[in-house]
Amino acid sequence: MSLAIDRLAQSSRWRRRSTTEKAVLALGLLALALALPPWPGAVLVLLVTWTAALAGARIGWRDWLRLVAAPLGFALTGAAALAVEIGPDGVALARDGGRAALSVILRAAAALSCLLLLAVTTPAPDLVRGARRLGLSPEITEMALLIWRFLFLLLESAIAIRHAQEARLGWRGFRRSIRSLGLLVALLLPRALDRARRLETGLAARGFDGSLPMLSPRQTVSTYFIAATLGLQAAVLGVGLWWS
């Protein structure tokens, strides 16, 4: 239940880079990862994202590897389905010898690296504010930012409750775990609604009338960074197309 990504994003060397720069870099690469053939497109994207994360944003390599490895379970189980075929004689190894499976894993790994590059350099509220500047309605962005706040408040409670239950030997074996989790959720739900009520009182004292106006920090965009990013992406696109 670690929110390592958030901690890394808050302390990364690219924390103060503008959201636009980081979004153009990561989302552009994400589009390339999806659009180009996995060989060599995905490999190039992997190369660029890993370099950017490890050398550019200076994410610790242990932290980075742990993050990349986490969704691998899904990739491997999902790809296992692609490595076999169901024919009239039952299940058999796929005739392409697993090439389809391999290319899906490659593409997914590249795309995941792009997502992580964005996530470990840019706290999610920055992206929500960016979406607001691009015209997403304030109702939705305010809701997203409020959910963000509640999420951490409730997560903190959930972790504390779980520690308390473990101290009294809950979460041991299936039956006790089910009961512990059920009690945890039952404690958390009224608390979530109670938090909402109390926050309403607290905000009313500050003039809350339904909307949540806020002054968001202004960021300056480095045209140099954007130009370099676009150039790099054009190169990846060119090499990817030429090679295949």
Binding site: D6, R7, Q10, P123, P125, L145, L146, W148, R149, F152, L153, R195, R198, L199, T201, G202, L203, A204, A205, R206, G207, F208, D209, L212, P213, M214, L215, S216, P217
Partner: protein, 263 residues
């Protein structure tokens, strides 16, 4: 003559399904002074503060701001809360935004100030609390003491005449408490009227000009700090002890503050 800034007259309030929280309570807040509302936990101190800024509406009695009851219409409430700020005990009940500066800007923007003015107010409030360096920090990574100061900055950025603080030192350690006391003292010197609730008799004695002893939904006595707290029969009736500082014979405000700090 000292003017009355806020007044509570015979407030009665009960929570649905519960007993009476306020039972004919009177209180007078004088402009420019520091008032401590002192009572044990559960005496109804927080409920009182929520009446003083119009969040809760009494069943009987009334709250007056500058001598007149403002009423509970939307516009009246907005004006009331502009003049009377509230800082709740748990900063998580007031800090809602993702970053500190965003959060503190909420009140000023609600006052209808321009972005530039709001930004000035934010900078000023963060400065007053000594947390200018936290402006861009994520609120969920703040320590309790930092979050508390952000909550106070959020109220302060609206430049209230009266600031109500619910147990402002609860949960803070020595250093955090000293920091906050310094901030409050500066606010008081700059002319903000302060009302704080506490169950700590030494804090009340060291910090407040006046003390209102609160028990079972009523004010047992309101008056000069030393006079009220020195009356042992009275403090015992409210379930409190006599301040150690007073027992030690510390009668001077400056000395009391210094000794309280060393506690």
């Amino acid at each position: 003559m000292v003017e009355l800034s806020l007044e509570a007259c015979g407030l009665v309030f009960s929570w649905p399904g519960g007993g009476r929280a306020l039972d004919g309570l009177d209180l007078a807040v004088r402009r420019g002074r520091r008032l401590a509302v002192l009572g044990p936990n559960g005496a109804g101190k927080s409920t009182l503060l929520l009446h003083l800024n119009g969040t809760l509406r009494p069943e009987a009695g009334e709250v007056r701001v500058d001598g007149a009851a403002p009423g509970y219409g939307r516009a009246a409430l907005a004006g009331w809360r502009k003049r009377v700020g509230l800082v709740m005990q748990d900063p998580d009940d007031q800090v809602f935004a993702a970053t500190v500066a965003e959060d503190v800007s909420f009140g000023p923007l609600n006052l209808g100030l321009s972005e530039a003015e709001a930004a000035m107010r934010v900078a000023e409030a963060l400065d007053a609390l000594g947390i200018a360096d936290l402006a861009e920090r994520a609120t969920h990574h703040l320590s309790f003491g930092q979050k508390k100061r952000v909550a106070i900055a959020g109220a302060l950025a609206m430049r209230p005449e009266v600031l109500l603080l619910d147990e402002p030192l609860a949960g803070l350690d020595h250093r955090g408490g000293m920091l906050l006391q310094g901030v409050l003292a500066r606010l008081a010197e700059a002319g903000t009227t302060l009302v704080l609730t506490t169950h700590d008799v030494d804090l009340a004695y060291a910090f407040a000009d006046e003390v209102a002893l609160f028990s079972n939904g009523r004010t047992l006595r309101q008056g000069e700090a030393a006079a009220v707290l020195g009356d042992r029969a009275l403090t015992e009736a409210a379930g409190l002890e006599t301040p150690l500082l007073l027992e030690l014979g510390v009668r001077d405000r400056a000395e009391a503050l210094a000794r309280f700090g060393r506690r």
